[in-house]
């Protein structure tokens, strides 16, 4: 800590906020001192972004008191907050990709010439100087959308700074950044701190939080659990506070140890060697065996979703991919399907045909097998009826339009598409996202059944619970690389989080 004073720069007292029925924040106290970097951690949905949006004037109907420089304030808009010196770099970038760097830096505040036209020369010169001052060397006339995402993020940060903010909130800025970009960002943040500005830094990367922050605050379930100087807390304690060990009744089985039932002798079905895709993942080498469920866990933006897509030929990766020992080139998804690879993406919308009947949704991937040239709707319906029974899909029948089913049942349809003729490899991306407990259990049951039939299953998720409840072996990805394997041993949620 570089500075300490008695009255905090910003003080939030007993803040509560709800969205409809969802209580996002419950009686939260939070304070920020001048010249500190304040790390904020908590699981997804803990309320971090909501609190920050209140501070930045995005949400204005909340209960509680907010004080800036010891005086109560209430911002009515983000503009209001910015005028008072509070700026926020949102999780979702808010730059305008088609404009130049200079225009983005000056968005809404373009300098004018005496004639009332925009003073381009001054805009370019000042933005170049300003960015260089932050260690960003980029031509201000470049279209910003053409720059790497990390640079875009830094430029957005530059804009917030440029507008004179004293308090800068960064909501998960590093999830899209490469390691050198993170370094640059951190150097910038430290320099800003030394010049007396205050920052709130939200991240899932606990190592980052612990290395950059002076103070950490931990959120759980809409409440603040603890605020502590970084020097007095370690990663393990942070994780324990985040997931609330001690509240065992809440955590049920997940905090406990789970024994992985890893198969070491089954034949390898799919193998990758040095698989890479642009900036999303690098040098991924792994194997999946017959009759095992391989879980791949990592935070949002770690490249695991893209890895799954590459294994199905939706995106093209460099490197070697073998199936049953034979190298294959997945230039399109139809090749993957013919090779016996099946894929269920994370979004139902991108997998299903909402205005088509169930049976057409289920037969689309197997039409080649049930019909040469002419369709056989009767066998399609027959097959669909079988899936409806087996997967307990609640619907009157195979002619029902898919759009009339509830979300959980649609998810089952997405799975059913691939089950008529067992694939060799089944890749599931976020298979239980947004499902209720009953539907989740159905998915676990279905996946286990497939595994027992000898199918190699890959489950990719950002939710530790999903991976823990399904996998026999777990790979952890971090910033595009596999960093850890859990096999044939015990594992728990905190150890998984610690590795990521």
């Amino acid at each position: 800590m570089t500075e300490s004073s008695d009255t905090p720069l910003l003080e939030m007292i007993d803040i509560s906020k709800s969205f409809g029925g969802v209580q996002a924040l419950r009686g939260v106290d939070f304070s920020l001192r001048a010249g500190e970097i304040h790390g904020l951690v908590g699981e997804n949905g803990a309320g971090k972004s909501t609190l920050m949006k209140i501070i930045a004037g995005v949400h204005h109907d909340f209960q509680g008191t907010m004080k800036l420089d010891g005086k109560p304030v209430r911002f009515r808009s983000a503009r209001d907050a910015l005028d008072a010196g509070v700026g926020m770099v949102h999780q979702e970038l808010s730059i305008v990709p088609d404009l130049t760097v200079a225009e983005n830096v000056f968005l809404g505040t373009q300098p004018k010439t005496r004639l009332g036209t925009i003073d381009w020369r001054r805009m370019v010169r000042e933005s170049r100087e300003h960015l260089a001052g932050l260690g960003i060397h980029v031509d201000p006339t470049t279209i910003i959308g053409e720059l790497p995402i990390g640079l875009q993020q830094l430029i957005e940060l530059a804009r917030v700074l440029f507008s004179g903010a004293r308090i800068i909130i960064l909501d998960e800025p590093t999830s899209a950044l490469s390691p050198p970009e993170v370094e640059l960002l951190f150097t910038t943040l430290r320099r800003l701190r030394d010049s007396g500005r205050s920052m709130v830094f939200i991240s899932h990367f606990l190592d980052d939080i612990l290395s950059i922050s002076d103070t950490v605050t931990i959120f759980r379930n809409g409440q603040k659990v603890i605020t502590s100087p970084v020097a007095e807390i370690d990663k393990r304690q942070v994780i324990e506070q985040m997931i609330g060990i001690g509240h065992r009744e809440l955590e049920e089985s997940y905090t406990g140890e789970i024994t992985l039932d890893t198969q070491f002798d089954a034949p390898v079905i799919m193998e990758t060697r040095g698989l890479s895709h642009e900036r999303t993942f690098q040098d991924v080498s792994m194997q999946v065996r017959a009759g095992e469920v391989l879980g791949i866990y990592g935070f949002m933006g770690c490249g695991q979703i893209e890895l799954a897509r590459a294994l199905f030929g939706k995106i093209r990766a460099q490197g070697v991919l073998t199936l049953d020992g034979k190298p294959i080139k997945l230039t399109r998804t139809s090749i993957a399907r013919q090779e016996g690879i099946a894929y269920v993406p994370e979004s139902r919308r991108s997998m299903l045909f909402h205005h088509e009947p169930l049976y057409k949704n289920m037969s689309i991937s197997i039409l080649e097998r049930i019909s040469r040239m002419l369709l056989k709707p009767s066998s399609e319906r027959e097959i669909a009826r079988g899936h409806i029974d087996n997967l307990r899909i609640r619907t009157p029948g195979p002619d029902q339009l898919l759009g009339n089913l509830s979300g959980g049942n649609q998810q089952k349809v997405a799975l059913a598409k691939w089950l008529t003729h067992a694939p060799k490899v089944l890749i599931l991306s976020e298979p239980t996202r947004g499902m209720d407990v009953g539907a989740k259990e159905d998915v676990v049951r279905i996946v286990r059944g497939l595994r027992d039939k000898g199918i190699a299953v890959i489950v990719v998720s950002t939710e530790p619970e999903t991976v823990l409840s399904l996998a026999d072996r777990i790979l952890v990805m971090k910033k595009g690389e596999i960093v850890r394997e859990f096999a044939g041993d015990t594992v728990s949620k905190d150890r998984l989080l610690e590795a990521a």
């Binding site: 919308r349 299903l352 205005h355 057409k360 039409l367 759009g403």
Partner: protein
Amino acid sequence: MSDTGTATARAGGVGGWVRGQLRNIAPFATLLFLVIFFSFASESFFTVVNFANILNQVSITAIIAVGLTFVILCAEIDLSVAAIANVTGIVVAFFTLQESYVNIANLPLPGLVAVLIALLICFALGMVTAFGVTFIGIPSFIMTLAMMQIADGMSALFVRGQIAYAVPDIVLTLGSGSIFGVPWIVIVAGLFLLVAHLVLTYTRFGRYVYMVGGNREAAEYSGVNVKFIIGAVLVIGAVCSGVAGMLGVAYFGSAQQNEFTTYLLDAIAAVVVGGTSLFGGRGGIPNTIVGLFVLGVLNNGLDHVQIDPFLKILIRGLILLAALVINVYAQRLRSQAENAGD
């Protein structure tokens, strides 16, 4: 999210059914209205002879519209259909022996060879479009705009402002002959519509066309070769246009530049007025048939009533606009129903 099975009849009752079927009902109602209107407005309209006229008049449009139906079902568009029809018709005449007074450097070949070359030309042009759209990734709207210019340019080079008249016998028969009093061109158009309907409804390829149009991403995630399907419909579009162009030359009795210009709008209008969704995945040949009749009755009927000929164009434009409004509106109603289901 609760998991309580099927959402029950959201858009209940007759109103719900009408909304769901708006896409199919509106074109039919329009057709009925036009027929009734013109029957009262003109004595000569509602006669067997005139009905035969209408069939004859829509046949070339119909063949082009068949190809366009595939393309539009895939949520793509083809603006080059008329230009390809034109160049194909010109090519078939170019390779046929012309009378001595025709000032075209033509290369006489046996009739079937000429037809084959013409078919090859439209196929090749379709392949170029398909390549540009699927492999290079040019939006079909732009790619086919370029193809329209290319085909027009080829037409210009072949005829150099002249007019050719002779076409191979088989083309002449199919384009302007009759059998038992029925024009061959009507029979050909009917066959094209029938085969296309069977392909779209009963074959795997047809299913893929609907699925790719309905949700391209889902089709890709289902392991459908989306690029192949899109490429194929564009080639089908070009070949149908080519056939229409050849028969059209016989039907008109001449091959020349800009002969088919009005057919672009007519064919697109027929498909869209019929209710096939511009966003893909909905509609089909029955819709196109209704659309063809709406257009045919409109064009024909306006000739039977006393009306400023210059006003006709405006009326057609307004009818097309109304059809577009209904098309997009029907889509919106459907999306609303879908969102309610989530």
